[in-house]
Amino acid sequence: MDRVSAAGILRGGPLLPLFLLLFLGAVFGPLCALVFITAQYIPGNLPDVIALLVPAGRRLGLLLSSVALAAAVAGAGTVIGLLAGSLLWDLREGVWSRARWLVVVLAPVPAFLYAQAWMAVCALLATAGSVAAWVPAGWVLSFWVQLGAVLPIAVGLCMLAMASVDIPSIEAARVVAPDITVFRRIVVPIAAPALGACAGLLFLLSITDYSVPTLFSVNVYALEIFAEFSASSEPARALLLAIPLLLVTLLVIFATQGRIRNLMEGTGVFQRSASPPEYPRWFAALRYGALGIVVLHAGTLVASLLVTAVTMNRHLPAVANASGDIGVSFGIGIAAAVCCLPIAYAAATMMNRSGRQGGVWWLLCIAPLAVPSPLVGIGLIVLWNSLLPAGIYGTAAMPVLAALARFAPVAALILLAQLRHIDPLLTDAARVFQRGVVRTWVQVRLPLLAPGLVAAACMVFALSAGELGATLLVIPPGLETVTIRMYNYLHYGSSGAVAGLGLVMTVLMLAAGGVAVAAMRGWSRLMTGRPSSHGAGGDTG
């Protein structure tokens, strides 16, 4: 059905232009400020500019190794996500049928919490005599931890990819070919756009993150941007240095953007074939192996948290000391979640429109995903300290603005997915029977949008509370978030002190993820009359 219909009724009304303006300001303001100040810097510093723009020597090596690390994480994550996701997708009974949701709940847990868990494991192994020599370090450990951190997202996206393959296509093939052939020739090619989107997203998450690599003494290009700004205090140099990385990330974004958009399409009803597929043993072993890796990572995280919980008495002082930081993180998360909803919704309604307008807004919403977090922080400093000294710089609003700049597009994408899964007929009916704008909003639009709003708010809350790259630069003197405190502890090797804080953070993240998943499942039940984990076979009577 034409999406325009849904977009028409769900548009934001007279406040739409204001919210759109705020969205553009929040997301692109810091970047525009950076570009403005860089334009002033360029004329008098041409040799410097060229040297920064063209990576050579050590910097070229750093860029290539960063791309290699991100590509390895994205490739391995997508393959493991596909294998484990397809297995979880096929499991329809017992505990495992619900395990897929547990995996997805882990998605907002920040990477450095996995780092903390694996550092503890490595420390334990290092004391175990003969095994000590085999304990991974550096690049390998960084890859392993980043992989673990993105696996919940990978599994979730791959399950969405499986959902994008319609059941009749699979069943028509199952009649004529073995299930492994159906998987290879039908399922994977049809799901390929969504799988490409998954790989693209994992690549972006990995290449723009420096928190995990630096914990394992691996230098990456994203850190170089931060280091350049710290050393020179020159925002223009940071932007110029970042441009090679930006080109890579933008290339990935544009190569996968249509695919990410396709991922938003779909029935909204998760379907599976009624009779389970039969795969050869080698493939079944691969799928269980992939699931094993997912479980190993999740299990290591959970085990480290359980050990912390059991010995919580020892960690209470550290938690008590950080109670102020916990409050700051919570406050930033809540403020960002609340502020982002109206502007993200406005952007989502624009993306949902057909034609060029929708396409332009789509680009405006996904392009910011390519921006490394330190650039956002530096841009905010330029904007509010140099260009618009309006009393915002140096206040608690700065980390909230950083979170908005980074995660409002994410919220917009979640809300777009929700808008696209709303049957246009429902909104058309509301249009016909409309009894006042407020009443229609409260009785029709909000209930239809509620799961998306809840999911987007929870995701923004979790991401903002765990944000490091931009927050580190803009947090005002006297304030600190739990993430910054934990990162500092981990960076200087006092991993024991972060255990309790890690538990607190993870509980916060899991609670946010759990609420988001519960909202989406509740909506699915409302739309289909049954939980979304059930098969499609039930509809074929």
Binding site: V176, P178, R185, P189, G541
Partner: protein
């Protein structure tokens, strides 16, 4: 020979197929209104649904029983669903060729003959999104015929086709059936269509068999 014994399939509280028993050798037409359980019965025979009760045997070999079903591709069946279900990443010719693959008769001549028979030769290199709904149904039927399986399961194959195309597709179906000797399981709600097929008629209503051989 298709034998169903006390076959049942329930979705929640709805008994889509309820204690259906019959044994038929040769072609069979399953008649009934919407929601009578015809399509579910066909999916059970195809192995796409697992029965809650009863058994299905093809040529004496049990292929489905409560809680278990032999994989669809091991049943020597071919199938056309109510929806064309064409694979969107394959052209029309590739869709048909994929179905031919398992039959070892995937020659270019045979592909050409089938496409010609259904008057869809000009569509061979088009993707499903580039053809109309009626054309897609014809491609789906050709794909089912291309398999040359022992049992040919067709769910409303001529739905929404005009008279001329209906006749043409019906001729193609009969010609292919004569050539391969396939047993036809033909689902329709159209009495006139059912009359054209010399076959045992089963009537279903409310998930139950209301007329047919025991």
């Amino acid at each position: 020979m298709i034998e169903c014994n006390d076959l049942g399939r329930r979705f929640g509280t709805v008994r889509a197929v309820d204690a259906v028993s019959f044994a038929v050798s040769g072609d069979v037409v399953i008649l009934g209104p919407s929601g009578s359980g015809k399509s579910t019965l066909l999916r059970l025979i195809a192995g796409l649904e697992i029965p809650d009760t009863g058994t299905i045997a093809l040529d004496g070999a049990v292929v489905s029983q409560a809680g278990w079903a032999l994989s669809p591709h091991r049943r020597n069946i071919s199938c056309m669903f109510q929806m064309p279900a064409l694979w969107p990443h394959m052209t029309v010719a590739e869709n048909v060729r994929f179905a031919m693959g398992a039959s070892r008769n995937g020659s270019a001549d045979r592909l050409d003959a089938l496409l010609e028979g259904a008057a869809i030769t000009p569509l061979a290199d088009r993707y499903p999104r580039e053809i109309s709904g009626g054309e897609a149904r014809r491609v789906a039927l050709v794909r089912a015929l291309a398999r040359e399986a022992q049992y040919l399961l067709l769910d409303e194959p001529l739905l929404n086709l005009n008279r001329e195309l209906k006749d043409r597709m019906f001729d193609l179906l009969q010609e292919e059936q004569r050539r391969t000797g396939a047993v036809l399981v033909y689902i329709t709600h159209d009495l006139e269509e059912a009359d054209q097929i010399p076959a045992t008629v089963l009537r279903m209503a409310g998930g139950r068999l209301v007329e047919g051989p025991e």
